[in-house]
């Protein structure tokens, strides 16, 4: 008989120096937090039993995240506020969980469900750059397709689908901020810094990206977006 489990969904951040961690390092760190927190986690059956835990889409080394997610299955129900409290004290500050909720057993996996990502890319350079970068990005969007070389292979993104919203460029305290929303498809996801770098190259600039932050991950359902919590 299958045991009854409870699917706790944890929203957490990957910030500060810890944005330099790889996805696998984040996975291991979160698993260890869950064990330290003393959560009654469920264990997979089979030859190599391990914690039942599943993560949302990976973040690359160097990219920060403010709203990342994992699901951890518990053998017994623990109020979500208690799950959160015990995780917070057992997790390094820069990977701290910020919210816990229960998700339905039948809901799609996080990787399948989270297809919309909002990013913020900060670029060195003030008002002048803001204007030229706006134009340069608009020109790329107007072309409709964007080709990326990935490990010797070319990946082509259809921008009408990949960029469900126009990129927004603004000037903030002497820096230029690009807000990008991307849609992740089966054929991969567009790294925002790749697009911004291409736009910078067109205006003869490079090496100006200060930081990349994924601010939010969303589920797209029947044409509208919602938080997974």
């Amino acid at each position: 008989m299958a045991e009854t489990t409870f699917r706790a969904r944890v929203r957490y951040g990957k910030t500060g120096p810890l944005r330099h961690l790889s996805h696998l390092e984040v996975v291991h760190a979160c698993e260890r937090s869950a064990r330290r927190a003393g959560l009654p986690y469920a264990v997979t059956k089979g030859f190599s039993p391990h914690m039942r835990i599943a993560f949302g889409p990976a973040l690359p080394v160097g990219t920060a995240g403010l709203g990342e997610y994992y699901d951890v299955w518990l053998r017994s129900y623990v109020p979500s506020a208690d799950v959160l409290a015990s995780l917070v004290v057992a997790t390094p500050e820069n990977l701290a969980p910020v919210a816990v909720n229960y998700a339905g057993e039948r809901e799609a996996s996080l990787t399948a469900a989270l297809t919309i990502a909002r990013y913020q890319v900060v670029v060195k350079g003030g008002v002048g750059l803001t204007e030229s970068l706006t134009g340069s990005l608009a020109a790329i969007v107007a072309e409709g397709v964007f080709a990326v070389d990935h490990k010797g292979k070319q990946k082509v993104f259809e921008l009408a689908s990949t960029l469900p919203k126009e990129p927004e460029v603004s000037s903030v305290e002497g820096a230029t901020v690009v807000n990008l929303t991307t849609r992740m498809g089966e054929r991969g996801s567009l790294r925002p810094e790749t697009l911004v770098t291409a736009a910078l190259t067109r205006i003869g600039l490079e090496g100006r990206i200060v930081s990349v932050t994924r601010e939010e991950l969303l589920i797209e359902e029947e044409g509208s977006w919602r938080s997974p919590m």
Binding site: P17, H20, L21, E25, R32, S33, R36, P49, G62, P92
Partner: protein, 613 residues
């Protein structure tokens, strides 16, 4: 204290695996305002150094002192050292990003001979003068310790002091002496004299070479005897070690279940220098393991020692632990197994469904040679062990052998091939025909390097061309099918031999090699023997007279002023017994063999129960 973080951070955008440099791991203790700062250096990459148990032990011990900060330091990979030098930045500690040169004490692990060039790179990157004699009053105190401290001479000029033996108590005494010296405004010279008065502390500048003998001056002891922690139970095994984010080697929490090994393998330096045997009690092991898993959140615990299967209460410990951990997905592992049926039983108990591979070390191919080296394993044991393992479902075993052991003949070498052949036959006999395709016997063959403080310390290491000839003999004798044969690079073994048994003159060679760019010599793809050959030529040191020469028994050896407790007389007797292929029993099962280590007060074997050989 200078915090370099804001200047280091931008460099992380362009280096490989920046996780090595970010700190903030679980269990890292930050004490910005401490009055005394210790840098604990492991001279290799983060992912290697973080597996070092001594580092975690000393970290925990130092942090029991109020007002003392202990901070980890690893050598950055080449891209990062380049970036640091280009930015004019020095090597920094992880916890607070303090320049290493601003620490009061810099402790460096002497883990392995091939990390020596990295130690010079560490000092240079830190901006600390390489040689003790060039350091000023303002410079940090540089202290070494670890396995290679038992022949400190090749590295002696680069250290202010070297601790020989167990560090748990000694590091606290060293810090106390140094702090007291600072408080009274003592000079560097006075501080070093005070340190030399501590048992187990060797201050190289107080010894000079007088016709091959290192002679003590300024009140330093004629012979420095290693420190021994009488009872491991005095301190708990570190239960809240730093938990790395990165995937490091041995990525699990380690509980040291015993220290020392009295099996008496005559080639083994660890077996001689870490005596006596000191077991932790089962209660302490279960208590520390439970606490460590709760504190770290690790998914695996390793019960470590030189020979864990020898622990008198291992079965009880494993029964208690596996019962506690049932259903948690948390596993127990052992670092090494003996060649016997007991070990296969243990492996079955631990592995659950996982049968990844078992490793055994028969070391030599014939019974005669195994008797010479006192490796108390018979062919029968090995065949029975392998049969049990394959019968239980394992399909892969790894066997370790050495070539170049004293008295070895070609017959012993072809004996390795024949033994492997019989292992394969035995394994095949109990493996269902459909699964025989997946069978694999990995055979790893290293070249014997004689080490200080062993019965073979007087022996000649075989020359490079002879290594290659014996490898050819071995290849011809090895079954082709089902065997993966690998060798150690003979050039690496030669260098290891020079660094392991050289005297103080070898320091010039190490410095010359480092100046020529030698780094990360322990990394196969980084090791370049040409840099070392050139360094030997440049300094006029003949490496072959160090590595490949048999010493007379009355010759003064470069490490004679260091005592591991085991007497020279015992080593000579053991050498004689080796020559007549006479085994010596293990004193934890049979009677005392008179090695001499238990002569010192409070030093004796400590067993938690009755051992079964």
């Amino acid at each position: 204290m200078t915090d370099l973080w804001t200047r280091i951070a931008p460099l992380l955008e362009n280096v490989e695996r920046p996780g090595r440099y970010v700190d903030h791991e679980w269990g890292a203790i930050v004490r910005r305002d401490a009055g005394y700062r210790v840098a604990l250096v492991y001279p290799d990459l983060y992912e290697i150094g973080m597996a070092n148990q001594a580092l975690q032990i000393l970290y925990g011990r130092l942090l029991t002192l109020p007002d003392v900060a202990a901070e980890r330091v690893f050598l950055p990979w080449k891209d990062m050292t380049e970036a640091l030098r280009a930015a004019g930045l020095p090597l920094f500690t992880l916890e607070t990003c303090t320049p290493v040169a601003e620490c009061d004490l810099v402790g460096i692990t002497l883990a392995y001979e091939l990390t020596y060039s990295n130690i010079l790179e560490t000092l240079d990157l830190a901006g600390i003068p390489l040689r003790a004699v060039d350091r000023s009053e303002a410079d940090s105190l540089v202290i070494g310790g670890g396995p290679c401290a038992f022949n400190p001479e090749p590295m002696a000029p680069f250290f202010d002091a070297v601790l020989v033996g167990d560090g748990e108590e000694a590091v606290l005494e060293i810090v106390a002496v140094h702090r007291a010296a600072k408080a009274r405004g003592a000079s560097r010279e006075e501080t070093l004299s005070a340190l030399a008065a501590l048992p187990g502390v060797y201050v190289p500048t107080l010894y000079h070479n007088d016709g091959n003998k290192m002679v003590a001056t300024g009140g330093a002891p004629a012979q420095v005897r290693k420190r021994v922690l009488g009872d491991l139970g005095t301190f708990e095994s570190p239960v809240c070690p730093v938990v790395p984010f990165m995937d490091v080697v041995h990525d699990r929490v380690a509980i040291e279940v015993l220290r020392g090994c009295a099996r008496g393998c005559r080639f083994c330096q660890a077996g001689m220098v870490y005596r006596p045997v000191r077991e932790r009690t089962p209660d302490a092991i279960v208590r520390d393991t439970t606490a460590a898993l709760a504190c770290t959140g690790y998914e695996e615990v390793s019960l470590t020692s030189l020979s864990t299967a020898d622990h008198s209460c291992l079965e009880e410990v494993l029964r208690r632990l596996t019962r506690r951990l049932e259903g948690t997905g948390v596993g127990v592992s052992l670092p090494s197994l003996r060649v016997d049926a007991f070990s296969v039983g243990i492996a079955r108990l631990l592995g659950g469904g996982k049968k990844t591979g078992l490793t055994f070390a028969p070391e030599a191919g014939t019974q005669r040679l195994r008797d010479v080296i006192n490796k108390n394993v018979t062919e029968e044991d090995l065949i029975e062990t392998v049969t049990k393992a394959f019968d239980a479902g394992w399909r892969r075993v790894k066997l370790y052998f050495m070539i170049g052991l004293p008295t070895e003949t070609d017959e012993d070498i072809t004996g390795i091939g024949e033994l492997v052949g019989r292992v394969l036959t035995a394994a095949r006999a109990v493996t269902p025909p459909a699964e025989r395709g997946g069978m694999k016997v990995a055979v790893s063959v290293s070249t014997f390097v004689p080490k200080a403080h062993t019965p073979f310390q007087w022996e000649a290491q075989i020359r490079l061309e002879e290594v290659r000839r014996r490898q050819t003999v071995l290849r011809a004798a090895m079954p082709r099918k089902g065997v993966d044969l690998s060798y150690h690079d003979p050039n690496v073994s030669f260098l290891e031999g020079v660094l392991a048994r050289g005297g103080r003159e070898v320091a010039d060679v190490i410095e010359a090699a480092w100046r020529a760019g030698a780094r990360f010599d322990a990394w196969t793809e980084e090791f370049d023997h040409k840099k070392w050959d050139a360094a030997l030529a440049e300094t006029g040191v003949d490496g072959t007279t160090i590595a490949n020469r048999e010493r007379a028994l009355d010759e003064t050896l470069p490490w004679q002023h260091i005592s591991a407790g085991v007497t020279g007389a015992y080593l000579k007797i053991e050498r004689e017994r080796a020559r007549s292929a006479t085994p010596t029993p293990d004193c934890t099962f049979d009677g005392c063999t008179g090695c001499g280590v238990c002569g010192a007060p409070g030093v004796a074997n400590v067993l938690a129960g009755v051992r079964h050989g």
